[in-house]
Every structure is written in C-alpha cells, then in structure tokens.
Symmetry: C2
Subunit: 245 residues, 2 copies
Amino acid sequence: MWSNHINYYLSMRTHELVLSWIEKQLSDGHLVLGGRLPAERALAEQLEVSRTSVREAIRILEAMGLVRAGVGSGKDAGTVVIAEPATALGSALRLHVATQHLPVADIVETRVLLESWAVSRAKADAPELEEAARLLDEMDASPAVDDFLALDVAFHLALAEAAGNTVVSTIMGSLREAIEGYAAALTANLPDWDSTAHRLRSEHRAILDAVNDGDGGRAATLVAAHIEGYYREAGLGKAPVETRP
Amino acid sequence: MWSNHINYYLSMRTHELVLSWIEKQLSDGHLVLGGRLPAERALAEQLEVSRTSVREAIRILEAMGLVRAGVGSGKDAGTVVIAEPATALGSALRLHVATQHLPVADIVETRVLLESWAVSRAKADAPELEEAARLLDEMDASPAVDDFLALDVAFHLALAEAAGNTVVSTIMGSLREAIEGYAAALTANLPDWDSTAHRLRSEHRAILDAVNDGDGGRAATLVAAHIEGYYREAGLGKAPVETRP
DNA sequence: TGTGCTTGTGTGGTTAGACCACACTCTAGG
DNA sequence: CCTAGAGTGTGGTCTAACCACACAAGCACA
C-alpha cells in the first residue's frame, strides 16, 4: 500500500514514494480537480528522485484516470488532475477479461444487476432522463449501426446516472467499456439487425416510460430483459449449459 | 527513429505500443496466467523501443494488477502475469475518493447493493460458506480489533464469492479496499467496541444461517442492515445533511 | 566425500544527461 | 499595426551506465 508508513523508508520503490506524495497532496486538498502537478523535472528535484521515477508514477496515475499529461505549453499543457475513473476501470477490466480471469458472462450479469438497481432507484424528475429521451429521439434518426450503438451506450449511461450514485454509474460505464469489443463483434452474429434495432428502440421507450412513471420495479424488469435478451440473441448466454433444471 | 514514425501517424505513445503488444499476447494466449514476460531488455530490443518505454508499460500493467515484477532470479523473479484486479481497482477507487469525486457514501451504498445480491444468489452448498463459518469461529476467538476487522473482510469476501460471480466479488473487494482507511478510522468513533463486536458477531451468524437455509431474501435483508447499521453507528450516513426536504 | 565460500549471470530498480516535438509567448522587423 | 522568428517550458524518448538481489555453478578446503 502506498500510504503505508512502515514501508515508507524500507522496501518502497521510488515511484511509489512519488505516488504516496501525490496521493497525500490530493487528500490534503493541495491538489484539486483541474489543478496541475508540478512539472516532471521540478517534481523530481523537489522529491530528490530521478525524473524516470516521477514519470513512472505519473504513468500509473494516468492509467487510473487521475491525471492527463499534455505536451506543449498553455492551457492544455502539463499534467492536470482529472476524474475519469470509468475509462481506467474499463481498461483494467478489459485486460483481465483478456486473461480469461473475468468471464464475459459475469460482466454482463453484473451490468444487469447494477443497471436494474439504477433504474429502480432513478427519480422521475432526474434531469438525466430528459437527456435520455433526447438520445432516443436521435437514435430514431440514426440508421447506421455504429451511431446506434454509440447512442445506446450514452442512453444506458444516462439511465444509470439518474439514480444519483456516482460509483454505480462509473462501474456501469467501465463494465460496458470492458466488453465493448465483444459487443461490437456480437452485432455481426445478429440474424437481422434492422428488426433487432426496431425491437431495441421500443424496449428503450418502454424502460424510459416506466422510469418516468415512477414504476421502478417495472423498469428494472424491463431493463434486465432488455440487456439479457440482446446478449442472448447475439449468442452470449450466461453459462448456457448450466446445470439448473 | 522507426517508432517516431509510428507515433506520428498513429499518435500513439511508445509505451502504449508496448501495452498493445502485450495485450495482444494475452488475447492470443501466448501469455497466460503465471507465465513470464520477456525480460525488460529483451522486450525492448524485440519491439525496437527503449527500456524506459517498456518499463512504463509494465508499471501500468502492475498498477492494474496484471503483472508482478520481481527482482533477482529464480521462481519469484522476472515479470509474471497474475490476476489481482481487486487490489488494482481498489487503488484506483481510493485515489478517486481522495479527490472527492467518488463519495464514500456512494461506495457504501454500492457495496450494500452488490453484497445483498451476492448473498441472495449464494448457493447453500457453496464451499465458500464452510470457509465463512470457519472465519466466524476464528473471530469468536480473536478479541483484538485488528484481527476482528481482518477476519471480517475475509468473511464478507467469502460470502460474496459464494454467489459464483467473479466480477461481483472482485468489485466488492475493491470497494472494501478503497474505504479501508475510512473504515479503520471510523472504528474509533464507536461508543463501545465490545458491544458492537458482539452485535456484529451475532449478525454474521444470522446472515450465514439464512444463506445456509437457502433463504436468499432474508440473507439480503440482513446483510444490508448489517452493513448500513455499522456505518451509521460509526457516523457515516448516506448524505445526512442533504438538502432534500 | 562433502561442505562452504566465491564468482558468474540474469533479473528488475534507479539514475543522469541528452535530444526531440510541441504549443505558447515574446520580440524585433516590416 | 501586424507578422515571422526566436525563446521558453512542457512532456516523450532514448542511451548508457550502475546498483541490489537471488540463484547457479564452480572452486577450495577439511
């Protein structure tokens, strides 16, 4: 653990020292969202470590969606503190899926769980629902598969955000991202995209209607069936040979 | 040189090149769990990049819980492919909590959601439940606070694993880790640790009994009350001063 | 024969210094 | 006033060296 003071001067690697320093700056509020880290060379000198070690620490923070490194000078330059946990978690999950340690079916199941909960908790007056409705209108006008899928992602994310739990919507987004490659490939398995798209559109409307009606239970049932139905149709069931008679 | 052209046209940084190469090796099965990456110097030569860039890529993989770097020679040496997504996700979540982008209350709420689902899905004959029972016995014999908390973590994780969804139990573990520091600090807020510990013990037994009885609904209710009760007692409610009359 | 020390080799960990590409800022010349 | 060029500060990359570590092989000695 980076914040472990016992290892502080014992077996801690240099870049971990830098990490713990930065984490402390964050916790103490000396580094805030949108703020800039000291320049790599300055930070290296200040912490009396090499620039290499500073860079390794920054790479880790970047991988975790905590900072963004920009070259040049001016507003987009330097290393800036951001907050994009979803992309970071998504990358990590995707890599673990690649090692086959995390089954895709489990990810889908988790997504169903989180999204069902989210729509059942969404308040009917949440501003995200208006955005969701707008996205559905846009989907009606977008026949292209790619556009449809991009809007679909945005719609489901808007639904998740309507529940007001940042962690849930973040994890939702990262799960989605982790299997995005799979989902895109699965689309090719569909027997008839046009009819599938038509069905998905009406299911989206039904889900949104249920949320707007304040009927969380119905919304949860519909969204679960919506997601599971899609993956089943595309040939990715949850353990199709499961011994559950 | 050669890599500069690639960088220019693909706008990909060198260490990302290394990352994508490694991810491909994982996807293609050329790198498996427990396997070893080529040595840093060899990999650098093979990919025609500097060792620096290889190291930055490895740092990222390490931060994601995908590899472990070990010095020396022999069995624990070299960079080995592992699968520890929980620690990686936990670190990322903890850092984002530090930036106050992810509220602790949301994390607790998510944990309740996942763990409720897990116990409601756990099969009564899951082998993890025997481990959970053993942990409870051990807790009865461990008066020290630290031991109790460590066993508590293991118990809840065992429960989550009994549901058979790796993603859910992994996220559960990472959520727990992200707020571990908070939880430990909160213990100090408790008015009377001994009575709290006694209550937690009996609640644990009740939860495990419900799971063993195959009563998932009761188990879910109990575990939700168990977790929420603890954090409430320790003074961490869900938005206690929320301006929502 | 066996034991213990020394040396060799391969691994990641760390450092210093140099150069590049980039984006903005300043300044001198028109 | 405007513009082209020099200046400055940023991250990105590379090279070359050294260190600490852990094991393996071989040698020296009892």
